[in-house]
Symmetry: none
Subunit: 417 residues, 2 copies
C-alpha cells in the first residue's frame, strides 16, 4: 500500500519551518505497513495544489495532506479541495460544537472566523481534532483515500493517533509488520555495532531488518519483519531480541511499544519511584533546571517529586545546598566532591529518599586546562550512600545539558533497581 504526503505552505518552501510532519508520518505509516512513495511540499497556491493532488492520485493509494486549514486568509486548502472533488463546504454541527467548547473551556470569545473552521467538505468523514479547532477530513474518491489535516504538528499527530492510523488499518488490508525497538544508552553507534556484529549478520537469513537510530547519547535498535504468518514472524523476532538482550543487557534501559508513548528516562524514574513509594529532589548546576523539567513533564510527578534548587552561583551552592567552601576551594565547583555534597545537601533539605545533583561546564566558555567543555560530574544520593561519576560529553552546550540530564536520570534508575 503506497502513500504520498503533501505538505502545503509557503513557510516550508522558504525554509522558515522544517517539515517534521512528514518524517513523523513516514515513521508511523511504515510501522503499520504503508510505504511512503513520495513527499511533496507545495506553496499556498490553488493551481499548484490541484496539480500536486492529481499527480499524487496517480502514484499512491493514500494521499495525506497537512497544512492550510487555519482560520486566516492565507489558508486556501479547503476551497481548493472543493474544486478538486467537485463538492462544496457544509457546516458540521459536531465540529462546531467541538470548536465552541474549545473556546468556552479557555474562557475565550469565539469569532466569526472560527465558525468557518466548522465548514468541512460535503463528501468527507470527520477526523476529530481534540487538540485544536480545525478538524481532519477523510475523503474517499476514485477508490483512493485522501486525508487533510492542519499543519500544526501537535494537532496533526493527535488526529492521526486518535483516529487516522486506526481508520487506515481498518480500511486497507495491510501486511503484518512486527517491530521491536530496543532502547540503549551509554555506548556509541559504532561500538554497539561492533559488539553485536555476529548476531546482526545472522538476521539476514531470518528476513529481519535491523535499523540503528542514534540520538545524542542513545541508540535505538529497531528489529522489523513483515509478512502474512503473524505467529511465525513474532516468534522469530522475539527470539532474536532475547539474544540481543543477552549481548548488551547492561546498556538497555527500555523498549518502545507500538501505539504507546516511548519510555523515557524520566518516565522510568517515575514508575520506579511510584512503585516503591519513594520521593526525589534535585540539585542542578550545569543542567540549569532541565532535569527538574524532565521529571515534572510526567503527569502525576507531584506524587514523588518534591522540588529542586538550581544553584548556578557558588554562593547558592554553599547557602542552599550546604556545600563546604573548602570543597569548592580544593576541588572546584566542577568536581565529584562538590556533586556529592550537592546531592546530600538537597536530600537532607527536602527530606527525600533519593536526590541527584549535577555540576559541570556546558560551554561554550568556562573550560580550564584540566576540565574541558563538556566535563560534568553527576551524583546520586540515597539515605545510605552517595556516589558520583565524572563524564566528558561534547562541545555543544544544548547537547551537553541533554546528555548530562539523561545520564543523571539513568544513574538514578540503576540506583533504584
Amino acid at each position: 500500500m503506497l502513500a504520498e504526503i503533501i505538505t502545503i505552505g509557503d513557510e516550508i518552501l522558504i525554509g522558515q519551518i522544517v517539515d517534521t510532519n512528514s518524517a513523523w508520518l513516514g515513521t508511523e505509516l511504515s510501522k503499520i505497513g504503508i510505504s511512503v512513495k513520495q513527499i511533496t511540499s507545495v506553496s499556498d497556491d490553488k493551481q499548484h495544489i490541484l496539480e500536486a493532488l492529481a499527480l499524487a492520485e496517480k502514484r499512491a493509494d493514500i494521499i495525506i495532506m497537512t497544512g492550510g486549514l487555519g482560520p486566516t486568509k492565507d489558508d486556501i486548502t479547503k476551497h481548493t479541495l472543493c474544486e478538486y472533488f467537485k463538492t462544496s463546504l457544509i457546516v458540521n454541527d459536531a465540529v462546531l460544537q467541538n470548536i465552541t467548547s474549545f473556546f468556552a473551556k479557555r474562557n475565550r470569545p469565539m469569532l466569526e472566523v472560527n465558525n468557518k473552521q466548522a465548514e468541512v467538505l460535503a463528501n468527507c468523514e470527520i477526523l476529530f481534532n481534540n487538540h485544536g479547532t480545525a478538524p481532519g477530513m477523510w475523503i474517499k474518491h476514485n477508490n483512493k483515500v485522501f486525508i487533510s489535516m492542519p499543519g500544526v504538528p501537535f494537532e496533526m499527530k493527535g488526529i492521526m493517533m486518535d483516529f487516522g492510523l486506526d481508520k487506515l488499518k481498518r480500511t486497507f488490508k495491510l501486511p503484518f509488520i512486527y517491530h521491536r525497538t530496543i532502547l540503549t544508552q551509554g555506548l556509541g553507534e559504532s561500538f554497539l555495532a561492533d559488539k553485536i556484529k555476529d548476531w546482526e549478520d545472522g538476521l539476514i537469513a531470518k528476513e529481519i531488518k535491523l535499523a540503528y537510530l542514534p540520538s545524542p547519547g542513545m541508540v535505538k535498535l529497531r528489529l522489523t519483519a513483515k509478512g502474512s504468518d503473524k505467529q511465525k514472524i513474532k516468534t522469530t523476532v522475539d527470539a532474536e531480541a532475547d539474544e540481543l538482550y543477552k549481548l548488551i543487557n547492561e546498556y538497555i534501559y527500555g523498549e518502545e511499544e507500538l501505539g504507546k508513548t516511548p519510555p523515557t528516562f524520566q518516565s522510568i524514574v517515575g514508575e520506579a519511584l511510584t512503585k516503591h513509594n519513594k520521593t526525589i529532589s534535585v540539585a542542578e548546576s550545569c543542567t540549569g533546571g532541565y532535569i527538574s523539567h524532565l521529571i515534572t513533564s510526567i503527569a502525576g510527578s507531584s506524587a514523588y517529586y518534591k522540588g529542586s534548587v538550581v544553584a548556578y552561583e557558588n554562593e547558592i551552592k554553599i547557602a542552599e545546598l550546604n556545600v563546604n567552601p573548602e570543597t569548592l576551594k580544593t576541588y572546584g565547583a566542577v568536581s565529584v566532591e562538590c556533586a556529592k555534597e550537592m546531592a546530600s545537601g538537597i536530600l537532607k533539605k527536602f527530606d527525600t529518599d533519593y536526590a541527584i545533583a549535577t555540576t559541570g561546564i556546558a560551554g561554550p566558555t568556562g573550560e580550564t586546562p584540566d576540565k574541558p567543555i563538556g566535563t560534568v560530574c553527576i551524583a546520586v544520593a540515597t539515605k545510605i550512600e552517595v556516589t558520583a561519576q565524572k563524564f566528558i560529553f561534547g562541545t555543544n552546550r544544548v547537547r551537553n545539558i541533554q546528555m548530562a540530564a539523561d545520564m543523571a536520570l539513568n544513574m538514578l534508575n540503576k540506583a533504584i533497581k
Copy 2:
C-alpha cells in the same frame, strides 16, 4: 526564477531522518531571489527519480538534487542522471586528486569504492566538495540548470556556500525578494487576524503577501514582496510593517531575520539583562524547572542568572520562598497572591534585581471547580513592586508548561523595558 528541490533517499520517506536540507536551501535561495516552487522527496528508485526530474523540469528553471551520491549508492543516482541527460560517466582528475588528499589528510586508507566517487557526468561542471568526497555537479540542459549534491547536510551546505549560490547569482538575472517576519505573543491567530483585517485587506493592492505562522501561544506574521525595484519594494513593505506595529505593538516581541537564529523570549531576556547589568532568579511550581532551563540554555546566562527554587510541595513554598501559610489557606497555592509571594521570596533569598514565579495546574489532574486545568498564575517582581496575572491555557500538560514559561519570560521582558 523558480527552483525545485529534489531530495533522494529512502531514509527520508520512512522518517528516519528529517529533511533539514530543503529548509536550509529554501532560506538561502529565497535570500538571493530564487523562489522554491516545490520540494519533492523520492526513494532511491531509478524510475521514480527519472519521473521526478521530468516533472521538475516542467515546473522550475533550477532543479537542485541532494542525496544518493555516497560511495554505496552512486550507482543508482549517477547512472540515473546519465540516462536522463543521455550522457556517460568519466573520471575527473581534479576530483580524484581531491578525494586522494581527503583520505591522506585523515590518515585513512582509500578504498576502491572511493575511486568511483571521482566519476562524474561527462556534461557537468564540477562544484568542488571541500568537506567530503563526492563532488557537486552543475548541468546545463534545455536552458535549465540542474545541480546534484551529496545529502550530508554539512557537505551540501559547504558546496552551496563555496560555489553554488555564487554561480546561480552569476547565471541568472534574479528579482529582489524582501521579507519581514514579525513575532507576536499573547493573541490567538484568529483574534490577531480580526485586529488587522482592514490593514491586511490593503496589502493586495501593494502586491505584498501576508502569512500567519502559528505555534503554541505565538503567531509569526510574514510580509513578502518581490520585483526588480529594490528600493521601492523595501520602502513599501517597511511602511506596512510600521503600520502593523502601530496596530498590535503590545503583542510584538521581536523580529526574525533570514539566515539568523530567530530571537526567543529567553534570548531577549538575556540581552536585556546583560545590557542593563541586572540579575534574575526564578521560583517555579507548575513549570517545574522549565523556565530555568530556557534561561540557562542561553550561552553566557551565568552572567545574569543566579538560581532557582522549584517548589512543587507547599511546604517548600513556605520554607524556601517564605510564602505565608495563611495565603495558601485563603487563596490556595494556585493564586496570584501565592505567585506574588513566591516571586518576592526568591528575589530576596537570591538577592536579584528581577524574579519570576509560576504556580498553576498543568494537568491532566488537579483541577477544582473554579480552577480548571491550564490555570496558571505568573508573577514578576522587581526591587520596587511585584505584579501578577492569572491565565487559563489549554488541557495539554506539556503545552501548558511551555506556554506558561513563554508568557512568564515575555512578562519579564515587558517589565525590564
